[in-house]
């Protein structure tokens, strides 16, 4: 089952810890690293000297801010941007976006492309992804060998091993092992992530104050997705990416959901559901394929303008989200929530019914404490999350070698 700690693991882990400390803090001095890691100054000195020698870290200017201090000035350590690069591939409805990011986290090359993902044959979809990655890798500004890892994100369900997309609303095709495909094609380790999980990862890096050990990112878009961090760990299902908050049951035998079932939270709170209710089409009406952001904004404007079916549609969305969150909170206790996506811009219309519903649930014990944040634009978040995830893998695997890992999966059984 669990495996003993070998002697050589020690250095590897502590190297990884130093790299992680530098990535988090930006430009910490050796003394600061010693404080945050709890290791001795001598150890930090030895490890950072190694890492600098290997070109992974670099000494930057002495820290100027507090130059009032006496004594030898601290020397800031920073990541060497040229040590490596990673690539992010974000595949969403009718849209493909790729970026190359240096080791310090700066975008150095990117490309975006519209495609008709819903009608595209399987091979074309895969081909488009491979082609866009190849174009970026062949970018003359870039040294191909420096791209150490690729992180893909897709709306939909991925497997826990982060190899394949199992199901996605953006395409009728299922079980596409994107990670394996890209690995075979380019020989670069790749992982396939769920978009909402990447949102959560990004939020954690963006605002570690608010999004620390426990929080929830909910995507309010055409569908409803969730990324969940519990006790500092990204939460995934046992076999798939899990966290399919949008398909928790709000109303047994209720409204028709895009997934073909009935009564899911999404069937009340997804863009298509809000649209359907606002147009008073009835809960059995087949979900429309897509509602433009502009249409959704118009809907929200109409709802704000006057009482009517639009406002009622947002109310119903809030109620479904509230009861869903209440059930979730019964399982995990309340935590800060970030609402992301177009409908997050209409959260003022959603919030009252949501809070009312959540107060009816066991999880909503102290619903006044529960705080919501909104972020209307999901794409940058997803990309940022992918970038950080890929960089973290590079930190752990490439620059702290020796682990029994392969492609992001820590193997549990060694015997």
């Amino acid at each position: 089952m669990s495996v003993g700690i070998r002697h050589d693991d020690l250095r590897r882990r502590n190297r990884a810890m130093v790299i992680a400390a530098v990535r988090r803090a930006g430009q910490p001095s050796r003394t600061e690293i010693a404080a945050t890691t709890g290791l001795s100054h001598s150890t930090i000195s030895a490890i950072s000297s190694d890492l600098i020698g290997e070109g992974i870290l670099a000494e930057s200017k002495p820290i100027e801010a507090g130059s009032l201090k006496r004594g030898r000035p601290q020397v800031g350590l920073s990541l060497n941007a040229e040590a490596a690069a990673v690539m992010t591939v974000v595949l969403s409805l009718n849209f493909l976006s790729v970026a190359v990011i240096d080791y310090a986290g700066q975008v150095i090359s990117e490309e975006q492309r519209r495609l008709d993902t819903l009608t595209m044959p399987r091979d074309t979809l895969i081909g488009e992804c491979v082609a866009i990655v190849r174009r970026r890798l062949e970018d003359p500004d870039l040294d191909v060998r420096s791209v150490a890892r690729i992180a893909l994100a897709i709306q939909g369900i991925t497997d826990t091993r982060a190899r394949a997309m199992l199901w996605s609303p953006i395409t009728p095709h299922t079980d596409i092992a994107f990670a394996d495909i890209l690995e075979d094609e380019f020989g670069i380790p790749a992982t396939m992530e769920n978009d909402c999980n990447m949102m959560a990862v990004a939020l954690r890096w963006r605002d570690p104050q608010r999004y620390r050990d426990d929080f929830i990112a909910i995507l309010l878009s055409h569908g409803i997705g969730m990324g969940l961090v519990l006790k500092g760990q990204l939460f995934t299902g046992t076999h798939s990416s899990g966290g399919e908050f949008g398909h928790m049951i709000h109303q047994p035998k209720g409204a028709l959901c895009r997934c073909g079932r009935r009564g899911c939270v999404e069937a009340y709170a997804g863009n298509y559901a809000i649209w359907r209710n606002a147009r008073q089409l009835g809960e059995d009406t087949e979900p429309v394929a897509d509602v433009s952001d502009a249409d959704m904004r118009a809907l929200a404007a109409a709802a704000r303008d006057s009482e009517g079916p639009e406002r009622e549609a947002y109310r119903k969305a809030g109620e479904a989200l509230g009861y869903g969150l209440g059930s979730l909170f019964a399982l995990i206790d309340p935590a800060p929530v970030a609402m992301v996506g177009v409908s997050a811009a209409a959260f003022d219309l959603i919030e009252p019914a949501l809070r009312e519903a959540i107060a009816q649930t066991a999880g909503g014990q102290h619903s006044e404490w529960i705080s919501f944040d909104t972020e209307p634009n999901e794409l940058p978040l997803i990309r940022e999350g992918c970038a950080m995830r890929a960089l973290t893998f590079v930190d752990q695997e490439i620059f702290a070698p020796g682990a029994q890992t392969r492609s992001g999966l820590v193997s549990k059984n060694v015997a």
Copy 2:
């Protein structure tokens, strides 16, 4: 945030690993331990020699089973039963049960007692617990100093730090810091656990084949509880024991629940709910305080006997459980389920509606795969779980000292 690995941690962790390997395997040889932990023979030899010298492990007879083998026979290592003892305290509705267990896991002293927990004043309830523990500690057969840890379990919500009961259906009183009270009284480290979590822990030890990394234990009793193991880890909420499956919302604004809210799963599947529906009392009827096991068995018999309100009551329970499980599975993916408690004996009446409901949900994708096990008697399981939990603490803390832990809580911030 995360802390570097000090040099002395190494030995401590590997000692703990060896102890854990012996506890799991029963009588493994040094060679077997080396294989399961991945450590070298020399290391295992050194560590086990230390542990034997400290009286924690003991060499037992050479393993006889496969005595056909050539070569030096393996020497089995086992836990020294006298190395320590732990105490379990299980507090359930109108019932208090205490046992002392030796380091090898055998019960060496026990006592059970009926009390009227629902009407008892706060101090009396606490006093009864303290008194029964004192009586067991003063048992002449027992060396007091050898009791190294106490694990309490209670039906209800506990805090993540495992110090206090926050809320429980068995008493009107709230926020009783049982762990602190016993620690102060007897100077023995104590933890306060949730009963269903202990059931899950016990199932894992009882049948590691079936209940390994991911599974669910559901208590079908007066209330509905859940213990959840995900990726080999006991799942708890961010602040409380969490996993309040019984209070996920099945039907917004639905049947009246014991918790005062409406539409919880428990309001359809708890004993009182089945009773209420079987008696056709209406969903707004105030839940009864208790239904005897005999009454529940009679109800099940009547339901099996003929179509009627009893059978319909079990159907409704199954539906609520099914939709609830479906929502849960949407979050975590399906996993093996153990149904525990009186109504688990009536699972034949519950299962059809449960499976039908779960098939209507996203989490019930392949509902035919989902397997259920039943165990009508929860008390032994809870006690077993407490014992293993307490013993594991002793393994980790007492016999592998140096960790920055206190009373079961691993401190995350060292700086």
